[in-house]
Amino acid sequence: MNACYKSQQTIMIRRRVRLFFWPLLALLCCPLDTLAGVIAHAGVELRSLSIPSLRNIYTLRQTQWPDGQPIVVFVLPDDHPVHERFAKDTLGIYPYRLRQIWDRQSYSGMAGAPIEVRNEIEMRTRVRSTPGAIGYTSKDMAHEGIKTLKLD
């Protein structure tokens, strides 16, 4: 995992090997069911996030970044394969359970439900343009203007 993330953070190397080495490398160091990558708005002042923190954010219990900025949570539809993988493998929570938690909080007025986007393209666009945003994508690579958060 870690090695995999580090390899992607070294942008120079990635650019050079992207054509055919990178997919091979990805296969070697990240298993096929690679975890979804966590992304955030470029203005978020964090490089990494612990799994418990990520879980607190996605269960709407932590609503602020350490600098006080409100967190805006983006999600894919409940039955999207990338969402299923993110929920089960990264958060360790079943998608139906996440939905229960969001419903409990949002319908009682305790917190806002996460903002649902239709697909990964919209996910990247919205995370890039929304201050304080957090989201996830399947492809574990950097996107221009978006921060990739390391999980530890």
Partner: protein, 402 residues
């Protein structure tokens, strides 16, 4: 009576004033933040059949279609620490709820202390009442463990009492290595003003009017890192009876209190839940026709939900209600009043199946085997003596959300 009280909440003037106030509050805020508005909603229709007795309409002779729920929920993040939420709700539930469209709740939430791990705030308005695990979202079919909530703890026949009421709650939350905590303490003016509530507390729809005076509520909740939950709820509510002109009953007083423990444990796709409560109803000063009494009731259920496939869930539940711990089988009550003993208890064994056809469409089926009539809705079964002790109920429900 009910209608007039409710309409005072949704008077256009008052809503307009509220919106104007909010608009001016947001004027100073950053545009991108002020536009954070969320709208969501749902609609559900059920079919209910019973072998004996009626539940939400004429379910005994026909399949009742009189259980309809629809809600439109809105929330507006006015500022980072100021949030306004509310829900418009349509509900029909046999003769127990014929009010149609109403404002379910509307509150302003001001979070005056907040950092990454702690938050403290206050909710003011017509606020949702924290009560057990399911109460605040009890009308959203998707959030319930079944088509019906366990009737012992969540008594649909006097739901208005615990639903939402004018008042305020102070709340707080904390994140720790050992899980997250959540507490709320508040005071409200409780809503005793319905025939169903009178049936439940006074045994009948009396000629006068029961008026909620004040209530106090508190809940503490702990969620472990493995997503298990422990909660303790306390509630106390008082109401006065205002007799009508030719009323055989005098100006009495009802005092209701409850202490409830909720435990939920998760083992992968299996969710085990139990809630135990000891509600106490005290009647004073109603005169000779309704002697002073104190009934220490007992309510509990144990429930298992099994997500055996991503879109399928099985429900098994056993739910028990005793109107009096001192008279569980109701024999003393029968000897004293001549009314059936089975109106003092109810044992309900439930089997249910849920299918999430798509993320926005859910279909459910449920079967109840019930022994006892303690939580039968009074307005659907006005004749006390024609209620049957052992009865079956089946329900089908389709729900849609957006």
């Amino acid at each position: 009576m009910k209608a007039s009280r409710r309409s005072s909440w949704i008077k256009p003037g008052r809503v307009g004033l509220l919106l104007m106030g909010l608009a001016s509050a947001s004027a100073g805020a950053d545009d991108s933040k002020a536009s954070r508005i969320q709208i969501q909603g749902f609609a559900a229709q059920a079919l209910i059949g019973t072998s004996h007795n009626n539940f939400f309409g004429d379910s005994q002779n026909d399949a009742s279609t009189e259980f309809t729920e629809a809600g439109l929920h809105g929330a507006w993040q006015v500022r980072d620490n100021l949030r306004v939420s509310g829900q418009l709700m349509y509900r029909r539930a046999g003769e127990t709820d014929t009010d149609g469209l109403r404002l379910d709740y509307a509150h302003v939430d001001w979070r005056f202390l907040q950092d990454t791990a702690h938050q403290t705030g206050v909710r003011i308005g017509k606020v949702k009442i924290p009560y057990g695990l399911y109460n605040e979202t009890r009308d959203v079919p998707f959030t319930r463990p079944g088509i019906l909530l366990p009737q012992s703890v969540y008594f649909d026949n006097s739901r208005s009492l615990v639903l939402a009421a004018p008042g305020m709650f102070v709340y707080g939350g904390g994140l720790h290595d050992w899980g997250s905590t959540e507490w709320s303490v508040g005071a409200i003016r409780p809503d005793f003003d319905s025939a169903a509530v009178e049936y439940n507390f006074l045994g009948n729809d009396l000629p006068g009017k029961l008026k909620g005076q004040h209530a106090f509520g508190a809940r503490f909740r702990w969620d472990s890192p493995s997503d298990s939950t422990l909660a303790l709820t306390y509630a106390n509510a008082q109401a006065d009876y205002a007799p009508s002109a030719l009323d055989p009953f005098s100006a009495g007083e009802v005092d209701f209190s409850n202490l409830m423990l909720s435990v939920q444990h998760r083992l992968g796709p299996l969710t085990l839940t139990t809630e135990y409560g000891q509600p106490r109803v005290r009647l004073r000063g109603f005169g000779g026709f309704l002697p002073d009494s104190e009934s220490p009731a007992e309510t509990f259920y144990a429930q298992g939900e099994w997500r055996f496939a991503p879109a399928w869930e099985l429900l098994v539940r056993h739910d028990v209600f005793y109107r009096s711990r001192k008279d569980r089988n109701g024999r003393n009550f029968e000897a004293l009043t001549g009314l059936p003993a089975h109106s003092m208890y109810a044992h309900d064994t439930t089997l249910g199946l849920r299918w999430d056809a798509t993320p926005s469409i859910m279909v459910r089926a449920e079967y109840h085997r019930v022994n006892g009539t303690a939580w039968l809705p009074g307005p659907d079964n006005p004749a006390l003596l024609s209620r049957t002790r052992e009865w079956d109920m089946w329900l089908l429900q389709a729900a849609w959300r957006f």
